[in-house]
Symmetry: C2
Subunit: 199 residues, 2 copies
Amino acid sequence: MHTASIESLIETFESLPGIGRKSAERIAFHILEHMTPEETRSMTDKILETKSKICLCESCQNLTDSSPCKICSSLKRDRTTICVVESPKDVSAIENTNEYNGLYHVLHGALSPMDGVSPDDLKINELLLRLTDGTVKEIIMATNPTVSGTATAVYISKLLAPFDVSVTRIAHGIPIGSDLEYADKITLIKAIEGRQEMK
Amino acid sequence: MHTASIESLIETFESLPGIGRKSAERIAFHILEHMTPEETRSMTDKILETKSKICLCESCQNLTDSSPCKICSSLKRDRTTICVVESPKDVSAIENTNEYNGLYHVLHGALSPMDGVSPDDLKINELLLRLTDGTVKEIIMATNPTVSGTATAVYISKLLAPFDVSVTRIAHGIPIGSDLEYADKITLIKAIEGRQEMK
């Protein structure tokens, strides 16, 4: 039983992803009890400022504050390879490995007819446009190993057939450091199917 | 490796209580990828509007949008009993039981010399002021059963000695529906100490 306006603030936070009722209450009361009006204003300013500054890179469709983004405009990146991912978070995850030096393409989702996500909702045409000048030689499909991520990879690989590029899929298998015993059945099947010769 | 402005937005969310790095990233990307500028503006407006509207009740010090608050100004509440709690969330928790019909007093914290919280930082004087007209007969100390909550209850109960009020402490013991076997030692000791005659 909160005052209506507090309840409404709690519901605002509850609508954010990964925030349940308890967390939303905790955040709302933190702002109301412990933050000064100035701190609150500076937080909302930061949200609005970032939201207005960030746009999509005209090339890879990743979130950026200048288009083309740093990766697309870098002279040090290998322009012959594009790694296709579902979301900007995936780009960050791969960049954090410091191992991949090609370009990216962010689809902003995965095909999911149940949720009303059709090919037109994804940045697929933008990907095809990047292949017209013949620079790109390999497309790595790094969508998630879920039903929708796999469907998206298969769908795009068929669209890519007319182009002179090789299309690869990231490997699925037992995560490093984990135990065979705890792997689920499908991962184990994929790991056996994807076995490679030891050198 | 995020763009500096995205990183800064993530850190803003990470500074909220209960929000870790992953949740902060998820919220930031949700706003940047999936919310429209209008939705973002309406969220920040809601935060600022609620922050400016909510104040402390002049009597019980709970968060409210009108002072005195609904509970303090209700004619149906028992004005002879005040339940003292640490935070507004505790008021909500007790109100949700629909069992307590007295008034509240929110301290906004608990004594904790290690964290620099002294009696002056709590709404203790405001509590004493409420006792001057002699209406209040019982003070229920419902601060948390932690070191600082208990210290606060003891400290206040000593301050209340000169007043003609009885001071009680909420019971501590085994939670209903839980199992003796899983109770921690201190709770078990409190449960045995606080045993009551069966009627």
